[in-house]
């Protein structure tokens, strides 16, 4: 083998070495975030917010859960007593106090027939595209009333609240 050929092989080896290092570095950089414990914790936090909210008193005798179940019986998205008066506004007050201008999405929905849902109350960002600023969405979901098939979803967009 001539000296020139040996040097070309050497150069090729260096180029391959650098390419491998770059590829490994690139893999680490663009590797997607795994479902870490932090994300799981956000899910637990979201669930505890929903559970606490449902237990909280809306007025002297009724809790938010009672009000939401009552609202959902009307099968109306804009049921007057749900959206234009108390319940929706009061839930919004609580969530805004907790999240303090951070992005979130909240929805109460009812299953009217198998796989067919209607939205009873919707607050914050759209539930289908909740996190426009921060792309990390942590969903928490609870059954508000099993008989009435009402469920609540809260999406947290930030790592802290």
């Amino acid at each position: 083998m001539k000296r020139g050929q040996i040097e070309i092989i050497g150069l090729l080896m260096v180029v391959i070495l650098i390419s491998v290092i770059m590829l490994v570095a690139l893999w680490f950089i663009i590797k997607p975030e795994s479902d870490s414990l932090t994300v799981q914790r956000k899910g637990i936090e979201g669930k505890s917010i929903l559970l606490t909210l449902m237990q909280t008193n809306y007025d002297r005798d009724r809790s938010f859960k009672d009000m939401i179940v009552e609202c959902s019986k009307y099968d109306l998205v804009d049921a007057e007593h749900c959206n234009n008066s108390g319940v929706k506004d009061e839930i919004e007050v609580i969530l805004n106090l907790i999240f303090n201008n951070k992005e979130y999405a909240f929805e109460i929905k009812k299953e009217v027939s198998v796989g067919n849902f209607i939205s009873v109350i919707q607050i914050g960002s759209p539930i289908t595209n909740p996190c426009r600023v921060n792309n990390v969405a942590n969903h928490a979901n609870i059954n508000v009333d099993v008989v009435e098939k009402v469920s609540a979803t809260l999406v947290l967009c930030s790592s802290t609240f």
């Binding site: 414990l37 932090t38 936090e45 606490t52 909210l53």
Partner: protein, 160 residues
């Protein structure tokens, strides 16, 4: 320049480039390693926070069920009765519960005398420190006299 000198310089250049590549690799490796350690630290803090929040909210001295704190029990709670025991649980952290809803502008600590106009319940004052991270979780605040539930946030100052 003689041929031997040129070859010698060539060898030095090759060595220099190899050293640069090795250092670049080491730099990249250690930067990712540090990043992963920091992430692990954050995850451990999160685990600690979850365990702490659950264990404090579940303490029989102050709990009233799942995710619920009895306000009367908090006000009557006195950690000095068994300071050694509670020292191990609280580890010097400051733990308080803010009243969030119904909205309340009061800032004072709640006692049995000012329950209508107070902002927070103090479980333990802890040791003041700058290097803390506040973790919080939603809890129901139960008032046994009226049977009402309020929305509260338990705030725990975890040492970093």
């Amino acid at each position: 320049m003689k041929k031997a000198q040129i070859q010698y310089m060539e060898m030095i250049f090759v060595l220099l480039i190899l050293i640069v590549i090795i250092f670049l690799g080491m730099f990249l490796y250690f930067s990712f390693y540090t990043k992963s350690i920091e992430k692990k630290g954050e995850e451990l803090l999160d685990i600690d926070a979850t365990i702490l929040t659950d264990s404090i909210v579940g303490m029989p001295e102050i709990t009233c069920g799942l995710n619920c704190l009895d306000t009367l029990r908090i006000m009557l709670f006195d950690e000095s009765k068994d300071s050694e025991y509670y020292k191990n649980i609280f580890r010097g952290m400051r733990i308080k519960v803010n009243r969030i809803y119904p909205t309340n502008a009061a800032q004072e600590r709640c006692t049995t005398n000012n329950l209508d106009a107070c902002g927070y319940f103090l479980i333990t004052a802890g040791n003041p420190s700058e290097n803390v991270e506040i973790i919080q979780s939603a809890v129901s605040l139960y008032y046994p006299e009226s049977g009402k539930y309020e929305f509260g946030l338990i705030k725990i100052e975890v040492f970093k």
